[in-house]
Amino acid sequence: MSFSSQYPILLEAVPLAFAALCPIVGMWKRKLCFPFSVAGVLATNFFIFSLWGKVTSTNTVTYALGGWRPPFGIQIRIDYVGLFIASIIGAVGLLVLIYSWRYVSHELEEEKCTYYYTLYLLLFASMLGFTVTGDIFNMFVFMEIFSIASYALVGITGQRRAVRAALKYLLMGATSSIIVLLAIAFLYGTVGSLNMEDIAGRLQVGGYTSVAGVALVLFLIGFAVKAALFPVHVWLPDAHSIAPSPISAVLSALVIKMGVLGILRIFFTVYTPGFADLSGTWNALTQAVAWCAAISIVLASIMAIIQRDFKVMIAYSSIAHIGYILLGVCMLTDRGLTGGLYNILAHALGKSCFFLVAGAIIYKHGFRRITSLRGLGRSMPVTAGAFAVASLSIVGLPPSAGFIAKWYILWGCLQKHQYAFVVMVLLGSLLAAVYCFRVVYYMFFVGPYGDGIDEAPATMFVPAASLAAGTLFFGIFATLILPSLGSAARALLAG
């Protein structure tokens, strides 16, 4: 057995091990926590990106944990979509971690830094585990780990509003986790297996039972809460805006995407869309989710427009973008699904850039009101420029990744002749233009302009700028991943 065949397990085990060791390192020397975490995340990134060659050549890489063959043992199953999302987690996770260095030492008391990096690594590791696992209960466990880590990270400052937001998040998050657990129990009760592919096979053979149908609905509700889909989005604006900015970035860019990924796994791996018995339920459910998603887009964009607080505005925009992703997914066409998946990338880059910019401004000046951002284009040119570029992607204007995603989502809606959704998506981008360009306007076109440049530290503006550059890169060189993403989408739809 060669070393490279162990990459699938290493990519979650290594960050977990680093997370476990981080408190010990912190006890010894607090300053070492940051380089230690960077080393862990870098190593993980190496494993993730080394897997690309294998996954693109063989489509799916599987790994049986402890040598126990599925369905008995836990299986790690890395398909194209999983690796795509894992790579986003790896790259964004690394950039945000680098960003955290100055921010955390500025914002948190010194003894909390160790906790911060430990929890961050835990969050990072569990999201990767969630992404690559092929076992449904394993998925639940990782979901709980990243949920607990994010509850703790939201409240890590211990401030009045932070703990309140964290508890609000916890109550909804934990409830949704239990709903997912109940669904797993129901499903296990009927089919007697926990391996996703195995469940799919048994459902095909044994036929669709009412219990399996109830489980599907429960899964959907549970993951919708994690993804902050309308109408169960109420926890998001508080949690995402009050958390420390790098954490907001990770929460918005990655953690809510885990809910989306959960829905994808349930929709396409566990319950396959080709399954004839389900088609009635299937259409009703996807239509319902699509409508929730479309309402998310419009409603959250309107809510974003009326906000005065910069970070709350960005948080509402995340709800809208989850709407885009799920709308694309629920069209159940290859184009729509490709668009949804591409928007996971586009939104991860754009939104984390937004939050990092917000963090840099809070770090430098301490204000959060949109109207107080005047003249920042002159004094913080890189930070403000990164925001302007990323807002192209969030609005969905060319040539940015967000545009490609929107293009495909619209295409998907047309394939299903859902003209109402086409209009709602376009309306959503108009509203997004209002809330994004308002900020750009205050930054660049309203004086008074200071004279000198007063930029945030390089470890803060470089990650933000590279994320912004990423939105442009994936807007222009979309063909790098679009064709394979398209075939991955077709593979998912085929079941």
């Binding site: 204007l397 490609i404 619209l410 086409v422 376009l426 660049f444 076109f445 679009l482």
Partner: protein
């Protein structure tokens, strides 16, 4: 369009104005004087590079350059065809004149101004040289955003309000065009320009085609300021600095027209439009805009506002010419792109000099300014005569072809629209000339002939545009002038 050659030249041309950004980065702070030379120099370089395309464009040969594939059957690609070359050449010439003019006119925030001026040129060239609707749309949207800083350059309350209005109109229009684009792609299967219409009546069906057509017209109509979508124009023009308004009226509105041209010739094709029967409704809308726009212009006292309404009316000449769907009509419309660009460019630049030298914005205050700035007002008069369509000016050529075209299309009654419009043009332009030269000649303190009229960098572009108005009206068939190019275009499409 005969054979297709691959060349990087179109892509290079599109990104050449970015040299100005390099200049701004290197010398914007330390040596502002030298940076300005770089700004103008980059425009000159772009113009020269476009001229090298002339032999290919004249023969009607398109050169395609696929830059990056975005998605299956969708790519960023450039190509040069005659109409694109014609537009690109016009862009570069007018841009150069306005850049030179700006050297004298713009004070304060120069770096931002010149950077966005150059970016805007780059994006407009991208529209002109795009090889498919997708590329066109991308550069169209970028151009929309890059225009905003020019409009609010002076950062007054008025400018901000105008800028906001502009953004609301344009971004909504962008979303509408995107809708049209995706519908076209979904039903037509391709977005490329192939030299003929790509949508197919038998495959797609009339209702869908009409929907796509109206969506496109709605989207591009905002930039082309077809009534009732013109709302942003009269606010944006007075607010922007004079060279920027000259560009707005002269070419940026034409970018919308250029979009319509592509829709007419490359998306639908003449025959399909005939079958759909959209000609008459569009002609009525255009005529309405021409007449009502002129009527609005008469009521304006603010000179730049008057000119803006005049642009609303004049740009619809082009729409009128295109939707006559006859060769001569199209010739007239296409010619008017260049003609109007020079005439209105000249008028706005003159208005800029008036503001710069005398501080007067309203026509009612302009008594006797002709003696203070005689050359400027002479150029103004020439351009105004051009607008009225007096023979020996280029405006006459437009009207001649439009008139012949409407007879060719068996719709002779549109000649009446042209005549009424000429009359109205006279009503709102001649008073300015009258006031400037013949009214209140008691200057005393105004008549200071010893003082130089204005800065040379501002006067020269005005003189050049003024001369062009005459030259285009007299030397119509000279090679390289609009007519020789438009002839090729019209031959290719009819």
């Amino acid at each position: 369009m005969s054979k297709s050659t691959t060349s990087v030249l179109p892509a290079v041309i599109v990104f050449m104005p970015w040299l100005a950004l390099v200049g701004a980065m290197l010398w914007g702070k330390s040596r502002p004087g030298f940076a300005k030379i770089v700004y103008v120099g980059s425009t000159v370089a772009t113009l020269l590079a476009i001229l090298t395309l002339y032999p290919r464009a004249q023969g009607g040969v398109a050169s395609t350059q696929k830059l990056v594939g975005i998605a299956p059957r969708v790519s960023l690609a450039f190509r040069v065809d005659t109409v694109g070359f014609y537009f690109a050449l016009l862009l570069a010439v007018l841009w150069l004149l306005c850049a030179i003019y700006s050297l004298g006119y713009i004070h304060g925030r120069e770096t931002r101004y010149y950077c966005f001026l150059s970016l805007n040129l780059s994006f407009c060239l991208g529209v002109a040289l795009s090889a498919n609707m997708f590329t066109l749309f991308i550069f169209y949207e970028l151009m929309t955003l890059a225009t905003y800083p020019l409009i609010i350059h002076e950062e007054t309350e008025e400018a901000r309000r105008a800028g906001l209005k502009y953004l609301i109109y344009s971004i909504s229009a962008g979303a509408v065009i995107l809708l049209g684009l995706i519908l076209q792609f979904y039903y037509g299967g391709t977005l490329s320009f192939l030299g003929h219409g790509t949508l197919n009546l038998s495959q797609v069906g009339k209702p869908v085609l009409l929907t796509i057509f109206s969506i496109y017209m709605l989207g591009f109509g905002v930039k082309a300021c077809v009534m009732p979508l013109h709302g942003w124009v009269p606010d944006a023009h007075p607010a922007a600095p004079a060279p920027a308004s000259a560009l707005l009226s002269g070419v940026i509105l034409k970018v919308g027209i250029f979009g319509i041209i592509r829709v007419v010739f490359e998306v639908f094709g003449i025959e399909l439009l005939h079958t759909l029967g959209v000609s008459l409704p569009m002609l009525i809308v255009a005529s309405f805009t021409i007449i009502v726009g002129s009527l609005f212009a008469i009521t304006q006292d603010n000179l730049k506002r008057r000119l803006a309404y005049s642009s609303v009316a004049q740009v619809s000449y082009i729409v009128l010419g295109l939707f006559l769907l006859s060769p001569d009509g199209a010739t007239g419309g296409l010619l008017h792109i260049a003609h109007h660009a020079f005439m209105k460019g000249c008028l706005f630049l003159c208005a800029g000099i008036i503001i710069h030298e005398t501080g007067k914005k309203n026509v009612s205050e302009m008594d006797g300014i002709g003696s203070r700035i005689p050359i400027t007002m002479a150029a103004f008069t020439v351009a105004a005569l051009g607008m009225m369509g007096i023979p020996l000016t280029c405006g006459f050529i437009t009207k001649w072809f439009l008139g012949v075209g409407s007879i060719q299309a068996h719709r002779p009654y549109f000649i009446a629209v042209l005549l009424v419009s000429s009359l109205l043009n006279a009503v709102y332009f001649l008073p300015v000339v009258y006031v400037a030269f013949f009214k209140g000649r008691s200057p005393g303190e105004e008549l200071r002939l010893s003082k130089r009229e204005t800065k040379r960098s501002m006067l020269v572009p005005v003189i050049i545009t003024g001369c062009m108005v005459i030259a285009l009206g007299v030397f119509v068939t000279v090679k390289g002038f609009p007519y020789s190019l438009v002839e090729v275009v019209v031959k290719a499409f009819f």
